[in-house]
Symmetry: C2
Subunit: 389 residues, 2 copies
């Protein structure tokens, strides 16, 4: 396999507030995010060659099955360019970024737009949870009562049994991310919480309680990538992009995700770095335990050490590697299709030095990571990107 990849820069990012937004739709949110990214890019919209949209529940929750991307781009006069919706469950936004990145890296496009949007609060929560269960194996899992909190509750239980991870360590993830979210103007949850708050919250799927879980959310984010000759000084570059799926081997341990380890291995090799070089990482904390696993799988700490690692403050802003300086899925929110784009948006702000109160000093290398769906004991999709200042 020989791929002569061109250098790809991120010229514009934009995102809406994340949270409950009853007056909006996935289209109106997408329009706003695209508008903000185009304005941030200071680029003629007519220059966009192709676009990819991450959206998961538009059909099932709102009925708008197709053409959401084209409709959202209409106000910008962006007619004619190919628009493709990609869906990889919670990794959809990252796959949209990857698609745009590859289009520019390969020379197919000079300017490509990745955007993600989701409006999830329009339906009753239990309906939404039921729809989300479609990201498991319906025939073999959801039918028998599997839900995502339940799956990650089991993973947490196993991680505690095998590695001695404690509830307080899981709570430390939420405390850190809520503190970061309090510094993020677009975050869904902007009030700090304490370990006691997290431990006292009602249980959802023991040992996970309400504050261990990301919330249903509405929002959109957009990322505009360009070929090097269209980059401005200070525009970060995407230096690695990797996407993997689970091998669905006979069940191994549930205390780590092999597909994350493989995606990280590929990404580090592409970027010519190791885990130690990463200054900040936006990872997929759909549940507090998930972030613990990711810090191990991404190589920020050793296997089984994720609990003590977060408890020590190593993953706070100012620590060894700032994990989820935006507040992550738990505090910023998780409108499914938007999250992967929002992670890249945060990475770009950090690498530009524009992250305000949550700035990671001297940020040079950022990593983003999402997982999508959960079937047969493992996540189905993973996408990892590395950006460099």
């Amino acid at each position: 396999m020989s791929a002569a990849r061109r250098t790809v820069a991120v010229r514009g990012v934009g995102m809406t507030a994340f949270g409950r937004q009853p007056g909006e739709t996935d289209r109106s949110l997408a329009e706003e995010a695209v508008h903000l990214a185009l304005r941030d890019a200071d680029l003629d919209p007519a220059a966009v060659d192709a676009a990819w949209l991450g959206n998961v529940t538009g059909g099932q929750l709102g009925g708008q099955m197709c053409a959401l991307g084209q409709l959202a781009l209409r106000p910008f006069g962006l007619g004619g360019l190919p628009v493709t919706r990609v869906e990889a469950a919670c990794a959809s936004g990252s796959v949209a970024v990857r698609s745009a990145y590859l289009a520019v890296a390969s020379g197919e496009a000079d300017v490509a737009l990745a955007f993600g949007a989701e409006h999830m609060t329009r339906a009753p929560t239990k309906n939404t949870i039921g729809v989300l269960a479609g990201a498991s194996d319906l025939e073999a899992e959801a039918r028998f009562g599997v839900t995502f909190p339940g799956v990650f509750g089991m993973i947490a239980r196993r991680h505690m049994d095998v590695h001695g991870t404690t509830p307080a360590q899981l709570a430390a993830v939420t405390v850190k991310n809520r503190a970061n979210g309090a510094r993020n103007p677009v975050a869904q949850f902007d009030e700090p919480v304490t370990v006691e708050d997290v431990l006292a919250a009602r249980r959802v799927a023991t040992p996970l309680g309400l504050l261990d879980c990301c919330a249903i959310s509405d929002g959109a984010a957009a990322v505009l990538v360009v070929a090097e000759h269209l980059a401005r000084p200070g525009d970060p570059r995407i230096v690695a992009s990797a996407q993997t799926s689970s091998a669905f081997e006979p069940f191994g341990e549930m205390t780590g995700f092999a597909l994350t380890r493989e995606a990280a291995r590929q990404a580090y090799a592409q970027a010519g770095i190791s885990a130690d070089d990463v200054d900040l990482a936006e990872v997929h904390d759909c549940f507090s335990i998930a972030e613990v696993l990711h810090t191990e799988d991404l190589g920020f700490c050793g296997e089984g050490e994720g609990g003590p690692f977060v408890e020590s403050g190593a993953t706070a802003i100012g620590g060894t590697v700032a994990v989820n300086p935006s507040g992550g899925l738990g505090a910023r929110g998780h409108p499914i299709g938007a999250t992967g784009c929002a992670q890249v948006g945060e990475a770009v702000l950090q690498l530009r030095g524009d992250a305000g109160a949550r700035q990671v000093d001297g940020a040079r290398i950022a990593l983003t990571h999402t997982l999508g769906a959960f079937v047969h004991g493992a996540a189905a999709s993973c996408a990892v990107h590395v950006l460099a200042a």
Copy 2:
């Protein structure tokens, strides 16, 4: 924009029977099509680098929202490779082919799989029609009663008013395609019909009657593309791939699709050919009138001449350009996500000389064309591919 594209060949194709298949699911159908394509390719499945799945209604009709691609590939031990679902309504399968083609052409992959699957008959027809209306602008169109037969009924009415197209000419499309379908072992409808049958069928959206409309269908198809060094003698090459969206200009005429004309222009330029060089074309005959428009928009005949063109026999097997030798959407069937892949499958069989009773003699150049969604007076997506023996 500079894209050094490698040569891409199609090494394997496979498809299931199309039609009502109550004992199957989109997953079981996808597995079968992938199995057939891998067997046709005579290639170690482990060689596949990436896969794209076209599926539209899996979530809304069956609940299986995500990971359908990974689940369908599991029996082949195809774990680990990135699997992405793409959705562009009825163009989904073509966009999956395009994604796989670009992955190999750019050097990102040496072997890429595009497959499409749809199981649409599990729900009552009126539910399915309601879901499909989500491929219009829900807020502005479907809410007010727009359905796809209704939209194309209006287009037919307009084409008759402006160009004098007759009901018998529309019927000639169905008669031809049903005759072709009768020669196609996998077609949903395998019995010929007469012009009188078509004109006498009950009206669905005047002037369109039941036999002017493609039917709800179940089925899957798969296409395996490879870099040139992995092609076998006789494997056709994909020599052009184009994807466009509508510009959503203030409404022009509804008697043609500008996005098809633009996609064809791009594809002919990439392939270095003109419309006259095309020996056979698999086009998007969701309704009889649609095929009339496509023959004009693809340049096979002049503007407004599509009715007389089909009536003359010019688009029959053995005519000037064989349009829908497979039977098309109308006779082969239209499981939405599968159609784009099935069109490429037919093109490959024809170019290999393996199309049996429906062989187009001396076929050297084939074109495939799909449209996806219909909003604000125009189709939202179009994908055109050109293949050469």
